[in-house]
Symmetry: C2
Subunit: 302 residues, 2 copies
Amino acid sequence: MLVVGSVAFDSVKTPFGEADEVLGGSATYFSTAASYFTDVNLVAVVGEDFPEKHINFLKSRRIDTTGLQREAGRTFRWKGEYGYDLNSARTLDTQLNVFESFKPEIPEKYKTSDVVFLANIDPVLQRDVLHQIDKPKLVACDTMNFWIEGKKDELVKTLAEVDVLLINEGEVRELAGEPNLVKAAKTVMAMGPSTLVVKRGEYGALMFSGDEVFSAPAYPLESVFDPTGAGDSFAGGFVGYLDNVRNFDGKYLRQAIIFGSVMASFNVEDFSLNRMRSLDYKEIESRYREFMRLTSFEDIAR
Amino acid sequence: MLVVGSVAFDSVKTPFGEADEVLGGSATYFSTAASYFTDVNLVAVVGEDFPEKHINFLKSRRIDTTGLQREAGRTFRWKGEYGYDLNSARTLDTQLNVFESFKPEIPEKYKTSDVVFLANIDPVLQRDVLHQIDKPKLVACDTMNFWIEGKKDELVKTLAEVDVLLINEGEVRELAGEPNLVKAAKTVMAMGPSTLVVKRGEYGALMFSGDEVFSAPAYPLESVFDPTGAGDSFAGGFVGYLDNVRNFDGKYLRQAIIFGSVMASFNVEDFSLNRMRSLDYKEIESRYREFMRLTSFEDIAR
């Protein structure tokens, strides 16, 4: 599968500690999470300052870095902090650097990708990427309030070509201009995506797909260290699993939501990608089953 | 089973309409919801202005009103409004009236109740009620920030005698003085309750019981009219079902959480108790099964 997004250095402060200039970026979190399920082709851009050790880490996973462009200049940097509620970051500084003029070039060998994830980048670029791919079977994408507010028309054009939209709860309401989530979901699905995954942070995720609705909780964690990258790790588990099974029926979409939730739950346990670096697939399966125990209840006697 | 709480007239304004001086109060919502599962003995107080038709409605359900005291003065009145997010009410006016000097007197025939629900009243009165009952098998209670802030010591004393505490998410954090929900739950359970039900409004409920955690979503509704009484309807479905099965093992606690969620989901579909007035048990069963579809996913191959 193919992912296009950002690779960055993050500086993050939470009530539990801080991390400086650590590996981050939507495509980084996504591809690391997805690499537990499938082979990932990565398209992104870094600057001259991006160390070989990070590229070697990505290569040590099932991630092909042929599409990782290196440009003159510095790598994208983001700095933010979280309060005790950990639900929303306060951005202290954003330096786009080489990301500002990012023109995703899809390597020839990636053009037959069946499954594509367009991380949160300019919707014009998202469409530009799509048009470089031969008939993908599943296109998923993310977006954010910045594009909803600044480039809504372009975003709507992109959504017309997308199968699955992953989006935060507040953003789906904003995009639809509708406070009720169920109504907002219908409005957004009418723009194109047949499946809508609403990310609700510590409250989990809600998936609308055709006439089906599926609700998954977040894993109740005693220590959430750093929520940065949770949404992209979620997307990585979700899309990575779907690419692995190559079946997009409801049964697999639901399982994929749980795998997404599992990867997000691990990711927030430490700064940067640290928890995902040391993860074992057995731990992923074990937490999947904890999600089953967390949500299961018996039918009532008829 | 026995419930002690308030009976009130509510005046409510939401973005979708308004209702004036309609039947409300924690014990009213609770006992109406519970009456779909079991026989309810109601202890509360009303004033001289409380119309016979409301008492007749309660009697038309499986609710015994012997314990509904009528005192000189006016019935408790509450006035509030909700914005589009419907998550929290803004109180415009509270007139305690006869509720101010409420001294719950438990009728002789109620004193052998096996299951007791202490709705959100002064924790001193909650304990006073408990001490009038012969060895109940299950004691559940609700509380609110008003008592956490004003009578915390009394509340803690009451909790030592309680099996199940139902409480809002923000309030459990406040009571524990701990932002992490899992840690806060442990702190509060150390005060007495072996089961803690955290109500999260449109995000559903999380139950901690012994070492088990169970998560249930709220039902995704396209039209939420009036959230007043949702928590008490939830409690009514939860405790009412437990009183019906008389088994407080994990399996039944989980099912009870779903019945609570079902009753809350119906209640918010209309003002006052209107939706619960016209409800059929088949509709309750049918929505229970919709909760199963909403949350179920398959295990992964081993």
